[in-house]
Symmetry: C2
Subunit: 369 residues, 2 copies
């Protein structure tokens, strides 16, 4: 695996590598405010009891490894508090965090996130299209897991590629319920005996959506419960850097072999739909300066009921109001706000055109030069 370092002040980050040992201890070594996203799939406090699952004491192929035994909620909360505290310290002020869990642990996770000042943005339901049925008919089929997406604090900025997720969802905004299949088939990593290498391997499709939606290329993603490295594999493919932490040597080995085989997508494939908000701001006055509109020229409102005249300083005036294109539009419509760019139109050769077309021309010229 190629390991690069990003220097940040005196410290540098162990990028694109899998650190061994306890995640709290390892995170302590990382500098403050150094990663853009944390994705955490902590061990579930499943409290499975073998005798409940298998009366005949046969081997339970479920989540009952040593690392998943916590003797009480208190212990689990202490553990959760410790790793979340470090994750929060390491996270940049405008970074994001995702945690995933089931009903066994997700309420502890969510409450502790809130207690530490993280600001929940959404809870997201991963609706499994092919869950394991409830064989005994004593409960509902447990067909989902819950993710929580949060920013570092209330009011903090955060990365959200709204348009990209909307595009992924066939043009309507992405909802908080995601229907994705569980990890099976070739994607499911096996050991030399053909047994699954990790009991709770997450599907890459899930990480793809998380990373596409809430990071940008070049961002650093920290996964303190790396397991067999789904986060790292998808991060690498998508041109993001990752830092993994994993206690179990065997999982690290599998993860490193897996990630070594991943190729990063071409950079143009990593370009996503951007929002208009990301485009450079253009002052209306620039259109007048450039002669695209003449002072004194008449603009017509959407619908054609109102008219206003352009002034040399880039404001509009009419009998009822004067001011910016937005202010005059809002005033005429009796609305609290108005987007003047789409509201006002001008006429050229008998055709009525929104002034936003001129803004697009300016932006195109800015991009060239």
């Amino acid at each position: 695996m190629t390991t690069k370092s990003k220097s940040r002040g005196a410290a540098s980050l162990p990028l694109n590598s899998v650190l061994s040992g306890d995640c709290v201890a390892q995170m302590r070594k990382l500098p403050d405010e150094s990663v853009d996203l944390v994705f955490a799939d902590p061990p579930y406090n499943l409290q499975l009891k073998g005798e409940l699952m298998r009366p005949d004491n046969s081997r339970v192929d479920a989540v009952d490894d040593d690392w998943d035994s916590f003797d009480s909620f208190k212990t689990y909360d202490t553990f959760t508090r410790a790793w979340l505290k470090q994750a929060r310290r390491v996270l940049k002020p405008h970074g994001g965090i995702w945690v995933i869990g089931s009903y066994h642990n997700v309420f502890r996770l969510g409450a502790e996130l809130q207690n530490q000042g993280f600001w929940i943005l959404n809870d997201v339901v991963w609706r499994k299209s092919n869950p394991m049925p409830n064989f005994r008919g004593k409960r509902l089929t447990n067909a989902h897991e819950t993710l929580i997406w949060a920013s570092k604090s209330e009011g903090a900025k955060y990365t959200f590629n709204y348009e990209a997720l909307k595009a992924l969802n066939e043009g309507v905004q992405m909802r908080s319920d995601w229907v994705l299949p569980i990890c099976t088939g070739n994607e499911r990593l096996k050991d030399e005996n053909g047994q699954k290498a990790h009991p709770t391997q997450k599907p890459e499709s899930l990480l793809h959506r998380v990373i596409l939606g809430t990071t940008n290329p070049g961002d650093v993603i920290l996964d303190p419960f790396f397991g067999t490295g789904t986060t790292g594999a998808v991060a690498k493919a998508m041109g993001r850097d990752f830092i993994g932490i994993e206690r179990e040597a065997e999982y690290r080995r599998v993860a490193e072999a897996r990630i070594a085989q991943v190729r990063t997508y071409d950079s143009d494939a990593l370009q996503v739909s951007t929002s208009k908000r990301a485009e450079p701001r253009v002052a209306f006055g620039v259109l007048v300066e450039r002669g695209m509109l003449r002072p004194g020229e008449v603009l017509h409102s959407l619908g054609g009921r109102h008219k206003a005249r352009v002034r040399a300083d880039g404001t509009l005036v009419c009998s009822e109001a004067k001011g910016s294109i937005h202010q005059v539009g809002a005033q005429l419509e009796g609305a609290p706000s108005c987007n003047g760019w789409t509201y006002w139109h001008f006429k050229r050769d008998g055709v009525t055109v929104p002034i936003d077309l001129l803004r697009q021309q300016v932006r195109a010229e800015m991009a060239e030069g």
Copy 2:
């Protein structure tokens, strides 16, 4: 509203009425272990700040009621602890509880349920088919709410009408995600001005599923945050008793008027598919004893490839195997197990019929006499 009382020892229950005042104080007056189910839709503590306008400049009518406002998480947790403690005391040992919330409060709810010793059975996602969109494009559409279903303690029995929910779900196991529309149209209660009578009225379909799946006719359902009485309306329609508690006089008034108009379904409509587990076990030999099958009679396998003969002791025999209907079926199919009731068929008047039909006849006779 007809109010009846169920006496339980010295105390009696204010059935099918809406109590006024604080839910903690009112629950304190109820006897220990007296209700079968608690359904609770507590305030969500939304923490909304300013106004929100839609893109068309209309204002979103938000939940800004005083009852939803709390100073801090600590205050909210104290409140949650208090009402859950009373709910738990009032609940029968084999009773169940449902709570509903959003990401604002549901993690606090779930954690406190666990802290008090409730045993979570499922978390259920209500996926809204028509949620309000995210108007500013800053987050995912908040398209679901979360319900938590729990028993009073680990190992406690609880009511779960598995077959009824399966039937409701077109013959496949009910999953932990329920797609239901929000409460609109005629179902949405309006005040005299045509405004919604309650900002967060739940759809009856949601309560229908809860009550069908986790109570039996005649059970007592307590709703400490009664609002406009969806729980009571569905409970009454389904032949369950309810106890409502509501602080706001106007909500109580609306709820009482609403419930007065509800008619209870006919009792045969309330008979639900019962779990096969709950049905009396019928030994195959009984069919022979009763003369429904003759010893020596030939049974044919599903698909017709195999035959076996009935023996007088209620076992089957063929050249390859002998034993119970299940054992022989499994042996012939090379399968680890086999449901002999659906596997084996007999012929009467040229028609091939599964032996399960005979079992059903036996059960019907047992039910009658």
